[in-house]
Structure formats: C-alpha cells, structure tokens
C-alpha cells in the first residue's frame, strides 16, 4: 500500500478552517439569540467572533508562510493556494472592517458563512506543490494580486451589509439585525465599499495589463479571465451609475451588490476551470 504524504503545513491550514467554522457558528448564533432576547449569551458568543477570526487568520497565515518557505514561492497558482490565500486575505480585510467600522460587526453572520463555503472548498482541493512559471517572477504580480484581493475584500464587506438589508426584509430575521443602522445608512456604507472595490479593480486591471504586456507580449487579449474581469468591472460601474442616476432603494441596491459579488466570485474561482489561455489563473 502506498502512503499518501500530506504537506506539513496542512495541519495549520485545517486548524484555521476549523476556527473559521467556529467563528461562523458563533456569529450566526449571536445573531439568532439576539432575537430571543438572550442578551448575556448573545454577548458571549458575539464577543468570541473577533478572537476566533484572528486565531483563524494566524493559523492560515502560518500555514501559507510555511508552504511558501518550503516550495519557494507565494500562493498564486493552483486552486488550493488561491483559496487559502483568499481565505486569509478576505478574512483580514473583513477583520479590519470589523474593527474599524462598528456597523459592520453584525454582518459577521452573513460574511463568515460565505467564507466557510470557501473553506469547505479548500478542504477538498488538491494541495499538491506547484511550479512558479518564470513570467510570474515580477513585482507587478504582487500589485495585481494584492489589488485583486482588496477588490474582492471590499466587495465581501459590501455583500455582508447587503445581505443584512435583504435578510431583514423578512419579519423574523429582521429582529436579528434590529440593532444595526437603518437600511438607508447601511446602503450608503455598502456602496462606499463598492466604490472601494471599483477603485481596487481598476488598479488591478491596470497592473494585470502591465504584467500581461511583458509576460505574453500583449496588454489585453480578451482571454477568459480578462473578459470576465472586464465584465465584472462593467457590471460594477453600471451598478454604481444606476444607483446614482435613479436613486434606487436599498433593497434593489443590495441585490445589485449581491449580483456583482457573485460575478466577481465566479471570475476569481470559476473561470480558471474552463480557461485554456496562458492567463488561466488557478487550476
């Protein structure tokens, strides 16, 4: 029988995934219990969320760092690496928003389950070691990747706020988020994050074009990832203009945010499955 050798950093990453699971469970419980008026229990579970999130980030960060040191390059290539780095970067961006913007805190009940979906996907993805192509050995890649993470992170925070607006449209979940600001204020906050996402995505596309020019001799070639990234930018720009031009209500605005996030998520994690061009991303 042949032994299956697992990379040593996996234990740290799995530990981080488990902590993400706990944080998500506590966040949902805290929101649900607030309906029942169990204020003490709610406070206890709710307060555990930032600590669990921080611990999850430390574990996943350690795992990524270990792997980086072992194979000699960052987490840029296969789906395992991209999911692990996204789980870490999205958690970090959400954690910063959680810390700096009090109104965002209760959106943990929406955001952390979304991150758990990614964590579950990470559990079933192949952690095999990867080979860094020479065209990836450029500082421009860093700008491109970091801006991409910042874009998705901003969109994730906006998604959490939009999720609250949509969820509390129903009578029962409305009580979960009763202590949060009204829909109009949340809508304003969510669109600030979407503007941040638009800015980061614009810079990401520029950095990507600079990289593509030197790596493949063209700055834009409509390969699947470029096409879908552009469609995401277009959808986001259109959503921003619709909101400004027609003053749509918070719920419709929230639906736009969900739509743009889904498109962005599919671009990041779905397109690489059918892309065959050089810029195929994570498969």
């Amino acid at each position: 029988m042949r032994a299956i050798i697992q990379p040593p950093e996996l234990a740290w990453i799995w530990c981080g995934v488990a902590l993400y699971g706990l944080a998500a469970t506590f966040a949902v419980l805290a929101a649900a219990r607030s309906t029942l008026g169990a204020s003490t229990a709610h406070a206890g579970t709710g307060r555990a969320v930032p600590g669990l999130l921080a611990a999850a980030l430390i574990c996943i960060g350690t795992g990524i760092g270990w792997r980086w040191q072992r194979i000699g390059h960052g987490p840029f290539l296969n789906m395992f690496e991209v999911l692990a780095s996204s789980l870490w970067s999205l958690g970090l961006i959400y954690g910063i928003a959680y810390w700096r913007v009090p109104a965002v805190r209760r959106t943990a009940a929406v955001v952390l389950p979304v991150l758990m979906v990614m964590a579950c996907w990470l559990l079933v993805s192949n952690p095999a070691d990867t080979h860094l192509p020479p065209t990836y050995e450029t500082p421009v890649l860093w700008f491109h990747v970091l801006l991409g993470k910042a874009f998705l992170g901003c969109a994730l925070v906006a998604l959490g706020i939009a999720g609250v607006i949509l969820v509390r449209a129903r009578p029962r979940p409305a009580a979960w988020f009763a202590r949060m600001p009204g829909d109009a204020a949340l809508d304003l906050l969510a669109w600030r994050f979407m503007l941040g996402a638009l800015t980061c995505e614009s810079f990401m596309l520029i950095a990507g074009a600079v990289w593509a020019q030197d790596a493949w001799g063209r700055y834009w070639a409509w390969d699947p990832l470029e096409t879908w990234a552009f469609l995401t930018w277009l959808a986001l720009a259109a959503a921003v203009h619709v909101r400004v031009s027609w003053r749509i209500g918070p719920r419709i605005g929230a639906l736009f945010i969900v739509g743009v996030f889904v498109l962005a998520f599919l671009t990041f994690f779905g397109v690489p499955f059918f892309a065959t061009a050089p810029h195929k991303g994570a498969v």
């Binding site: 050995e137 204020a185 503007l195 520029i206 493949w216 001799g217 699947p224 203009h241």
Partner: protein, 330 residues
C-alpha cells in the same frame, strides 16, 4: 443642439452602451473573429455618451470624478489610435541569422502603422531554456546582438518578462523554439548553398522532429533529427541547442542515411552535408506607440476614482448605531 447633447449624455444611453459592450464582449469571447465590430461599436457609443456627459454635467469636470471621466475618455481615444497604429507579428530566427522584415509573419497591421520594421534589425545569438522536473518551462535566456552607437554589436539577453525593444517594436521570446540542423547542398555543378531547417518546436514535439525540402536540382529529401540525449521528464534540465547531441536521418531516393555533424550523403545531382545542429527561437512582435500613454491615462483615471472615493466616502462619517442614523443621509 443642447437638447441633442443632453439626450446623448443621458444615463439611459450610458446603460445601453454598457449592456451592448457586455453583450459584445461576451459574444466576442466565443467568436474572436467578430470581436472588432462587436466591441468597437459600443465603445464608440460610450465615448460619445461620456464626452457629451462631460460637456453637459459640471460635476463630471470637477475633482476626482472629473479626473476619472476625462482620463477615461482620453484613454478610449488613445486606445483607438493605438489600434490604428498597431503592428503584431511573429518571426523565427536561427542562431546567427539577422532579422529581416520579409521573414516576419504579420498577424495585425493597423491602417496607420508607420512601417518602421524594415529599419529594425538584430542578430540571433545562442539561447537556452531551463526546464523544471515534469518538463515545465522555466527561464529563457536568449542572447541577441544589437547594433550599438559605434556600429558594433552589443549583446543583450532577453526572455520571460524582458522583451527586446528596438524602434518601438517589442520582441518577446515564446514557447515556440526548437532545433535547426544546418545543411549544405553541394551540387555537381554550381555553387554550394547552406541553410537551416527549422524542426518542429522542441521539446513540445520531441516525437516528430522531421521536415522535408528539395535542394536545387536535387530530389525531395525527408529528414529526421534524432536527439541523442533522452528527455528525462522527472529531472530538471536545460535546453541548449548548441550542445544537444543530434544525428540527421536522411530519407531520399529510397535510401536511408544517418549523418553525424560533418557527414554527407551522395544524392542525384549533388551531395548533402550535415554541418551541425543549432537552434531557432520564435519571437512575438508587438508595436503600439500609445503604450506608455495608455498606462499613464489608466493610472490617472483610477487615481481620480480613488481621490473621489477618499473625499466622498472614506473621509466622510460612518454609521455606528441606529440612533445616530440621522447623521447619514442617503
């Protein structure tokens, strides 16, 4: 006139442009041949809409929003100029061979392309490509000789993220490269001719290193290049055509001959001599004089957006609790 401008600047036209551009992009993705018209037409509509909006809406001329929209419109115009001036092509150069415009296969040539390629030349030097275990391509080092200010040849190394830039033309090494046996045809009458045969890309097609040619006045010849160093797929290795041991298998007039470097075979009307094996490198050529401007304009546009975001969003108040809602009007 003002009314027509206002209609053109409307948000509905803009959204229609967005929708058409999205549909065009989506359609072009499935059918690249149709890309030009499907993408250019909505872009023209959006450029007209944006121009009219900038003229009619004072907010779009001020602050970060103004910088973003004006830079975006200029970017669209400059990108269009770039497309009209663009040149794209590819060329394969054997070691020792100079770039000649006639050898370039043109893939895109804009109607306003200034045609400066004939003034550009360089000499292909030796190249090597590193491979990681699993035959995964790593670094490419291609030496080229470029005429320097004193009329001599200066050596430059290009490859991966480092193109050779001459006269605005950018030459990129590609995965398309291989081995090139040098052969000399020694006719019974006339002068000898030496040339190179480009074998299929190596190691991609290591299993079919074959070609065929007809020497002047001679019979058709089919040649196979046998690489006398087995490809170890599990180890790291370096492709260096100059040091790759090879033998040339010649099939002509119903006979098979195996030639080592320096060996020759007698054919009707002359002798064919295998001189040595060398390499050829495939280059992608790209020319777009607007490239630096596109970068500057795109960066200015995105910076304008960031400025707008900073002034209107980040520096503004953030909601904290429900009771302070009145502080945050929509």
């Amino acid at each position: 006139m003002t009314r027509a401008l206002a209609s053109l600047a409307s948000a509905r036209v803009m959204l229609a442009g967005f929708a058409l551009l999205a549909a065009g992009t989506f359609a072009a993705h499935d059918d690249p041949a149709a890309s030009a018209s499907l993408i250019v037409a909505p872009l023209c509509l959006l450029a007209a809409n944006l121009g009219a909006a900038i003229v009619t809406n004072r907010r779009l001329r001020r602050g970060g929003l103004g910088v973003f929209h004006v830079a975006l419109l200029t970017l669209m115009i400059v990108a269009a100029v770039g497309r009209l001036c663009r040149f794209e092509g590819r060329v394969e150069l054997t070691q020792g061979q100079s770039l000649r415009e006639a050898a370039v296969e043109v893939t895109t040539r804009g109607p306003l392309h200034p045609d400066g390629l004939s003034a550009v030349t360089f000499v292909q030097g030796p190249f090597s490509v590193d491979y990681a275990p699993g035959v995964r391509r790593a670094h490419t080092y291609s030496e080229v000789g470029v005429v320097d200010g004193d009329g001599g040849l200066a050596t430059r190394t290009v490859g991966d993220d480092m193109p050779l830039v001459l006269g605005g033309y950018r030459f990129y090494t590609t995965h398309n490269k291989g081995l090139a046996p040098i052969v000399t045809w020694l006719p019974d009458r006339g002068t000898p001719q030496t040339g190179s045969l480009h074998m299929p890309s190596y190691p991609l097609f290591d299993w079919k290193q074959e070609n065929r040619f007809t020497p002047p006045g001679g019979p058709e010849v089919r040649v196979f290049l046998r690489v006398d160093r087995p490809l170890d797929e599990l180890a790291a290795w370096r492709l260096d055509p100059q040091t790759t041991p090879t033998a040339l298998i010649v099939h002509a007039e119903g006979r098979r001959s195996e030639l080592v470097p320096g060996g020759s075979v007698r054919l009707t009307a002359g002798n064919l001599r295998f001189e040595r094996s060398t390499g050829w490198m495939g280059y992608r050529i790209f020319f777009d004089p607007t490239l630096p401007w596109l970068f500057v304009l795109a960066t200015v546009a995105a910076t304008g957006l960031a400025w707008h975001l900073w002034r209107r969003a980040v520096a503004g108040p953030l909601p904290a609790r429900r009771r302070r809602m009145e502080e945050f009007p929509a």
